[in-house]
């Protein structure tokens, strides 16, 4: 059933263009029903899941390969699915307003719906490969969404970059999942969970984990793969709000959380995730305040949040996992809201530059309110959910088993930078005096306001009533920890170290906000350093790849046919030498039984061939080769093959006729090769020729079986009614060969006629090749 519902999402995507043709802009409202229904259903299932009854929906896909479409709904999946459906519904609604009148709306909906369905599949999948399939589908659909404005080169480049990074990571993920499947002997997450053996002790654990982590890190924009995310802001704001804050970028986080019980809590896991996450966290926060473009700023702050989540998974304690769950929900809500706000600002003012905006609170009061509410959560201030998340995070960091001090420093720095960033986003555009913007600002339509407002309100409500959410978060944490965990949540824990840190970071943050312009100017001096970051590596790798490609083509596919032939022959000769001379040394018994005239015939045959390359005249070479041909006919004759002799003579004669007809147009022999080339070619030719001589001798020497022709001889007269056995073979025993052969000759003739007579006018179109 659930599978069908996911399928319905893809179906809606496929028919979106048709729907648009029939329903126009109202399509949007119809499509919103899809996530809305999903959300309602999920909420209806929530009590059961919270009570610990995971839902499993079994379905097969490719049983021969062990792939199933089985879906599994536990706390973690439920949380993600709810975020996907609720945020998705609001973003979809919002997009209806944001893209109103856009001729490509249908295309947007197609990609968006497919993405949403893929996301559902990803978080619900029980099969490793199914998970991967949906994972890649999100990459593909997000490529299409980022490149939505594809006539703009920047959009295309951003889309390409995100695709390469995420699909590249996807490959690592695939390797990791296959390793996991092989190591565990199962392709189902549920089965792996209930495995007797501990995968952490498996010989493949380290490569498996590395591959999986690379996959997760690329998708979730962890250092050093983070650079694609800010660039992906080329996408329309609804896309940023959905993919790049709430859903897709969290897929990597989801994956790590999913694997935590089976692979987590090893030194490698902790080091990779907590350090990688920590560094990403600080980097994101630091980079955020360097930008005045509101979407870039939000994107970097998202990186910060993703880093935080990864770090928490790395720490892996119960506290950390609780913080993980809360922080994740909080971030999805406030970041979704803020991105939509950013979209509204962009949409209404015509700019994304915070510095160009100011005093908008009067023109757009609802937007301002939503922005400020969301920013409070962003900054981690009470009484919003963001505060709960940050407190929990700081607590977990301080208690971390590994690198507690380092992580604390990182977390604190990130915290105060985040507060500054939140202030910048929420205050700068709305406070102060009204600035002139490309468009005259006024409040956004209801469809666009609903999303940011509701999500911001949710941040507040969940914060206020956080103790009530305990059981729900407990279900999530239980799923991640792999064992039941009680989650005691409250807004107020009394004055403790985390609170002190929060307060001091608040002060520092406000300070930074106040002198932001000056600080930014200072930070600008760091630009040369940041320009050498991972994005530069990415482009360096691409450039190196293209140069390597061009170099290889120049060297290998160089257009010189003789090089191609030489390579082939050397390959053949090397393999032959290895087989016949090195691996199996031959022992030959040579028997000489030869007559004088046979020697003469053989001699003219060889000399005719040898003379061909030495003659300076092309027709001379033709005659010389003719001598070889006639000698061969004689050999056929002397060794009892009259039919062959006749054929050879006739063919030789006709060949001469053809050659004289053709060579007539061709120039005299030219000596174009250098001495070195001739010697080299001579050596290769001699080696190949010598090897073949040897093979003939061996084959002749080791004859061991009665040939099948015995039967043909015995039955030629009685069954085939023919006395010339060769002809009987040609027209009866092996008539099929002959049938093919006459077709070959006829085809050659057709080709010759076409080549000589068919002359298509060279260029049909002015721009033709």
């Amino acid at each position: 059933m659930v599978q069908l519902y996911i399928g319905l999402g893809f179906l809606l995507a496929a028919v979106a263009p048709l729907l648009h043709r029939w329903m126009g802009d109202r399509t949007n409202l119809l499509l919103v029903v899809y996530p809305a229904l999903a959300a309602l259903w999920l909420i209806s299932q929530a009590p059961g899941v919270i009570a610990g009854n995971n839902l499993v929906f079994t379905a097969d896909w490719v049983p021969s390969l062990g792939l199933s479409l089985t879906l599994m709904l536990d706390g973690l999946a439920l949380m993600f699915a709810l975020l996907i459906s609720i945020v998705g519904a609001f973003v979809l609604l919002y997009a209806g307003g944001y893209l109103k009148g856009n001729p490509d709306m249908a295309r947007f909906h197609a990609a968006f719906m497919a993405f949403m369905a893929a996301m559902f599949g990803l978080v619900l999948a029980d099969g490793l490969v199914t998970l991967f399939v949906f994972w890649e589908l999100t990459s593909i659909t997000s490529y299409l969404l980022i490149g939505f404005n594809h006539q703009d080169e920047k959009s295309r480049e951003a889309a390409r970059q995100s695709l390469f990074v995420t699909v590249g990571g996807g490959l690592a993920l695939m390797a990791g999942l296959v390793l996991l499947g092989i190591a565990s002997g199962s392709w189902s997450l549920t089965d792996i969970r209930s495995l007797e053996t501990d995968l952490r002790e498996h010989a493949l654990y380290t490569p498996m984990l590395l591959c999986l982590v690379v996959g997760a890190f690329t998708k979730s924009a962890q250092f050093p793969f983070h650079f694609w995310l800010p660039n992906a802001m080329a996408a329309p704001s609804p896309v940023s709000a959905y993919l790049h804050s709430a859903t897709m970028v969290k897929a990597g986080i989801y994956l790590l959380a999913r694997l935590q019980p089976d692979l987590g809590d090893t030194a490698l896991w902790t080091a990779l995730l907590s350090l990688g996450g920590g560094v990403t966290m600080l980097l994101g926060a630091f980079m955020a305040v360097r930008y005045t473009n509101i979407k870039k700023l939000l994107a970097y702050s998202t990186i910060m949040a993703l880093g935080t989540l990864t770090m928490l998974l790395g720490i892996g304690s119960d506290e950390a996992l609780i913080a993980f769950a809360v922080f994740l929900v909080a971030h999805s809500l406030y970041k979704g809201s803020l991105f939509m706000v950013a979209g509204i600002l962009d949409h209404e003012t015509g700019t994304q530059d915070i510095q160009a905006m100011g005093g908008l609170r009067a023109a757009m009061p609802v937007t301002a309110a939503a922005a400020m509410l969301a920013a409070l959560s962003f900054a981690g201030l009470p009484p919003l959910l963001g505060f709960v998340g940050k407190e929990a995070m700081l607590k977990a960091v301080l208690k971390a088993d590994a690198f507690p001090l380092l992580l604390a420093v990182l977390a604190f720095s990130a915290a105060f930078l985040t507060i500054a960033a939140a202030a910048i986003v929420a205050l700068r555009p709305f406070l102060g005096t009204l600035k002139a913007t490309p468009r005259t600002p006024h409040e956004a339509p209801l469809s666009m306001l609903l999303g940011p407002s509701v999500l911001a309100l949710l941040s507040l409500l969940l914060g206020l009533f956080v103790p009530l959410t305990g059981p729900a978060f407990s279900a999530v944490v239980t799923a991640v920890a792999g064992a039941p965990v009680e989650v005691p949540l409250s807004l107020w824990h009394g004055v403790n170290l985390p609170l002190v840190l929060t307060m001091s970071s608040l002060l520092l943050g406000i300070g930074l906000y106040l002198c932001w312009d000056g600080v930014r100017a200072r930070l600008a001096t760091l630009t040369p350093v940041t320009h050498r970051g991972p994005q530069a590596w990415y482009y360096a790798i691409l450039r190196a790849f293209v140069s390597l490609a061009e170099w290889q083509t120049r060297v290998l596919q160089n257009g010189y046919m003789r090089h191609y032939i030489l390579v082939m022959l050397v390959t053949l000769a090397a393999l032959l030498v290895n087989s016949i001379l090195i691996r199996h040394a031959p022992g030959l018994s040579l028997a000489f039984d030869v007559r004088f005239h046979e020697v003469m015939v053989a001699a003219t045959m060889m000399l005719g061939a040898l003379a061909a390359p030495m003659l300076r005249s092309s027709l001379g070479a033709v005659v010389s080769v003719g001598v070889t041909g006639f000698s061969i006919a004689l050999i056929f004759l002397l060794f009892s093959a009259p039919d062959l002799a006749i054929t050879q003579l006739l063919v030789e004669t006709l060949t001469v006729i053809l050659l004289v007809l053709v060579l007539f147009r061709l120039p005299r022999f030219s000596h174009l090769s250098t001495r070195f080339e001739r010697i080299r070619d001579g050596v290769v030719a001699a080696v190949v020729g010598g090897l073949l001589s040897l093979l003939v001798l061996i084959a002749w020497d080791v004859k061991q079986f009665t040939p099948i022709s015995q039967y043909m001889i015995e039955n030629s007269v009685s069954l085939a009614h023919g006395r010339n056995i060769v002809n009987v073979i040609l027209v009866d025993y092996r008539a099929l060969d002959t049938l093919g052969e006459m077709f070959v000759l006829s085809l050659a003739a057709i080709g010759v006629i076409a080549m000589l007579k068919l002359r298509v006018p060279p260029v049909r179109r002015s721009t033709g090749e």
Binding site: H721, G722, F743, L745, I753
Partner: protein, 143 residues
């Protein structure tokens, strides 16, 4: 270019060509029992036409072939070849199983291998003649 054409060659070609064609038919028909067969015969016949082409040129050769283009020979030969595979199929045997139909009046046997060999003959004759003829045609066009 030197002096083209020679009465002596032309006369000889006129005499030899029928002889060669006859010989080719001879080779074709008795190929099942003695050296010969469709290929060899077809090549001989093609050689005969090549001689005629050398002596008299393309137009005269086309004239003796009348409406028949070498390409028609190819098609006919191939079709005969394929069709000779089919009678066996109709009597429920694997394709290309030889079928023999004795013609008592003449004391000889018609058979699918013979039809097949005639197909080979025509195809080879057509193919080789077509190639030589086209080459000479183009040669003449281009001077």
């Amino acid at each position: 270019m030197v002096k083209p054409g020679s009465v002596i060659l032309n006369t000889a070609a006129r005499m030899l060509m029928p002889l060669q064609l006859l010989f080719s038919i001879f080779l074709l028909l008795r190929g099942h029992d003695e050296p010969g067969g469709g290929f060899i015969a077809g090549l001989v016949a093609a050689g005969a036409f090549a001689l005629y082409l050398f002596a008299f040129g393309v137009d005269a050769t086309r004239a003796i072939l009348r409406a028949v283009d070498p390409r028609d020979l190819i098609g006919t030969g191939l079709l005969l070849g394929v069709l000779s595979a089919l009678p066996a199929w109709f009597v429920g045997e694997p394709i290309l199983t030889a079928q023999w139909w004795p013609i008592d009046a003449l004391g000889m046997k018609l058979s699918t291998p013979l039809i097949f060999d005639i197909g080979v003959y025509l195809a080879v004759l057509g193919a080789v003649t077509a190639m030589v003829m086209t080459l000479m045609e183009v040669d003449t066009d281009e001077g």
